[in-house]
């Protein structure tokens, strides 16, 4: 299942007076894969946290499936930049955590977790501890955990930023495959133009502090996407458009919305 | 042949020579032997004679520069003697002497100030403890740490007391005052005074000495090596202490009391005086043989007899030690101080 994600004129000011986000309005249709792109400090992580309900907006409304965030059971999953695994638990117990919180018994939860791990190619590492896994493997475990509840909305905060390029490309494809399978609405934060274009149907470009939307670009490349796409001219054209949007925002004068 | 000397002409040079000699020799005369004497409790009337000897000049006259080192509830001065940290030690009863001999610790008792051990068990009046035999059925007997390992063992074997009754006496009258059925240890010349002051009643007192625990008490103990190599020092200390005791019991106690108050501010002059009165009425110090042979007297028969009763009580095995080896009689039984007593008591 998938949910519609909306932000309506959202402001977020933090305690120190920092205005992370200003008058932000975003509407994401159910099942869309959207990237949120911008320079450091533009508030994109804040947007993600607002959608997840981990922050409350200072003004405006955040709605998931029409209801204000926090008023419905979390059908939202979150993948952090850090794999955020419990170091004392095995991979399968980490993946099973959301199910255990939902009071599913240990054996069936572990069984489901093992299946999820198989889905990310880690079936043989189910009993391993995070300390025994590589960075890429840990991130896969994190994604498996995020998807095990078959969420309506999948939020990812630069999950592959700390990985090497080869692993990153591989995980991009795995993520797309999993997304295609379950079909949640995906909101993917990144600072890599290439990644944003490769993964998503829409790229939302945000400006620097305070965070505002400066571009909403459609990427009309077909799914499923293959690695070879990265070398094709349409791909590069889209990347160019996104880059231009980013650059335009940096120019002091004559900066207009597309 | 010397010419006749004009005595008058010699007067001035003689005077000068005499003054010079005095000035030169005076430091020698003032060079007293430093002595450290450790007691077994905080300063109380039971130590009075020693403080008297200190303040009335007896120690000084005998060429001794004495420092009195208090004991106390958490303090055990006993190991300091064999270790050489102190010169003389106040010992509470002969069991300590027997233990030392048993363990090969080379010390000797050189004088016994108390002819009677004031160790007693006290109780609330009107609880049936007026008869000593009833005390062994008391639900609670408060005995302090060092006594637990000495005369409490004797009480268990010969008088039927049991460990189940025992609780540590931490020198706080609270538990005793709060429980009318409680029995606790005390010095017959001290605790009754405190109980009267804090509890407002006169406790029942049973002296252990009246029930077969007839040890000497407040003995002066010295290293065997000191007795062997410096008998003159020991004799002087013993004699001066004896004189101090006569002075304390029969003479002017003010200075000694003041000295004890300085060392132990928790006590009062009234309590000290009351304690002295009890010491005299109970015949603790100056009684039986002491009347004849002077304070500090000891005799081998009595020591042997006490050892035998302790063997019977199971504290020692027969022949485990030779009781004659714990004490030396060479420094006492000489009637030292009897003249002082006569003088002091005639004045009254």
């Amino acid at each position: 299942m998938s949910a519609k994600i909306e932000l309506a004129e959202v402001d977020k000011r933090f305690a120190g007076g920092v205005e992370a986000v200003q008058a932000l309005s975003i509407a994401i249709e159910p099942g869309q894969f959207v990237s949120l792109l911008g320079p450091s400090g533009c508030g994109k992580s804040t947007v993600l946290r607002l959608v997840a309900g981990l922050e409350r907006p200072t003004a405006g409304q955040v709605r998931v499936d029409g209801l204000a965030v926090g008023t419905r059971e979390a059908a939202i999953s979150y993948v952090f930049q850090d794999p955020t695994l419990m170091p004392w638990a095995s991979a399968e117990d980490n993946v099973a955590l959301p199910l255990r919180i939902k009071r599913i018994a240990r054996a069936p939860a572990r069984e489901q977790a093992r299946q999820a791990l198989a889905g990310v190619g880690l079936a043989d590492r189910a009993r391993a501890l995070p300390a025994q896994l590589s960075g890429g493997m840990k991130m896969r475990v994190s994604i498996a955990r995020a998807l095990i509840t078959r969420p309506d909305a999948l939020l990812l905060d630069e999950p592959f930023a700390a990985l090497d390029e080869i692993t990153r490309h591989r995980l991009n494809d795995e993520l797309l495959a999993l997304w295609a399978e379950q079909g949640p609405t995906a909101l993917f934060v990144t600072h890599s133009v290439f990644e944003a274009v490769y993964l998503s149907q829409r790229v939302l470009v945000m400006s620097g502090q305070p965070g505002r939307l400066v571009a909403d670009l459609t990427v009309d490349l077909p799914y499923p996407r293959a690695a070879v796409l990265r070398l094709q001219p349409q791909f590069l054209q889209h990347c160019r458009r996104v880059t231009d949007a980013l650059e335009r925002d940096r120019l002091p004068a004559g900066a207009g919305r597309p | 042949m010397p010419e006749p000397i004009d005595a008058r002409a010699l007067r001035r040079p003689c005077a000068i020579a005499l003054i010079a000699a005095t000035l030169l020799l005076a430091p020698l005369a003032r060079a007293a032997d430093p002595v450290v004497f450790a007691t077994n409790w905080k300063a109380q009337a039971a130590h009075g004679g020693f403080y008297q000897a200190l303040v009335d000049g007896s120690y000084a006259r005998y060429g001794l520069d004495v420092t009195i080192r208090q004991g106390g509830p958490q303090v055990n001065n006993r190991p300091l003697l064999p270790a050489g940290r102190i010169d003389f030690l106040m010992t509470g009863n002969l069991l300590h002497a027997f233990d030392n001999l048993k363990n090969g610790v080379p010390t000797l008792q050189v004088a016994a100030i108390f002819q009677k051990d004031p160790q007693a068990l006290i109780a609330h009046p009107g609880q049936g403890y007026e008869r000593f035999e009833r005390m062994k059925d008391a639900p609670l007997v408060l005995v302090a740490k060092d006594a637990q390992f000495t005369w409490w063992q004797w009480l268990k074997v010969t008088q039927g007391f049991r460990d189940e009754q025992l609780k540590p006496y931490t020198f706080n009258l609270g538990p005793f005052l709060a429980n009318p059925r409680a029995v606790q240890q005390g010095y017959s010349i001290a605790e009754p005074i405190y109980v009267r002051r804090e509890g407002g009643f006169e406790p029942v007192v049973h002296l252990l000495a009246d029930h077969g625990f007839d040890t000497y008490s407040t003995l002066i103990e010295a290293r065997a090596e000191t007795v062997r190599n410096r008998p003159d020092l020991v004799q002087r200390f013993v004699d001066a202490s004896i004189l101090g005791w006569y002075g304390y019991l029969y003479g002017d106690r003010h200075a000694a009391n003041a000295a004890m108050l300085r060392d132990n501010p928790e006590i009062s002059v009234d309590e000290l005086e009351a304690s002295v009165a009890l010491m005299r009425s109970q015949g603790i110090v100056d009684s039986s043989d002491a009347l004849r042979l002077g304070i500090g007297t000891m005799n081998a028969t009595r020591i042997r007899h006490f050892f035998r009763s302790m063997v019977q009580a199971g504290l020692y095995s027969p022949g485990q030690i030779d009781p004659d080896q714990v004490a030396t009689l060479q420094f006492v039984n000489k009637g030292v101080g009897l003249d002082v007593k006569r003088r002091l008591t005639e004045k009254r």
Partner: protein, 258 residues
Amino acid sequence: MTRWRAAVLVPAAAGLAALAAWEALVRLRGIPPYILPAPSLILRTLWDNLDSLLVSWLYTIKITFGALLLALAGGVVLAAAFALSRTLELALFPFAIALQVTPIVAIAPLILIYVDSTTASLLICAFIVAFFPVLSNTLIGLRSADPNLQDLLTLYGATRWQRLRWLLAPSALPYLIAGLKISGGLALIGAVVAEFAAGAAGRETGLASRILEASFRTEIPKMYAALTLVALTGVAIYLASNALSRALLGRWHPSERL
């Protein structure tokens, strides 16, 4: 030489060397036993008095471990309560600190006045000495949970108890173990010191009474024999806590990596 073997052989060799030096010193200088007994004499005395010393040793061990268990239970429960309620923490923490700094030598006789059983009073005294490190460390541990994991649990709608069970408790475990290592030794010290200040004779007596008894009867070798048992107990506690730490944390915590 393997690390494990070194860990055993090196201290053992050092200990034996020290004992040999001690023995030599006593013999060469002819030091009498009531001043400084030789190790051989101490061992002989220990052997001769084994039955009575063993009984006392068991009693001291009983008090030590009883107090340690109480400290563990009390410290953990209080820490959890403080972690859940800041008001409670602000109200009660000063008492905990006051208890910690008041010398047990002063408290022990007082407790003996109010409490009837000697064993109970000794347990209370040893507990007072031992519980603070457990409380303090566990509280820090409970507060040191990974903030991302905290957010994750919020997202999944975990209750306070679930949060405690799945995140806070395992996060706090390394800190708790660290506190326990300290408290183990303190429980022993508390048991011995409390008995020094307030213990009884006859039944219900531990090593402290044996030491006192030997001291009052000028049986110096016996004092040393009893002290040796105290020292051995301390070492055993240290080794046991290390083993526990390895068992619980060995697989995943950095502190056990070495």
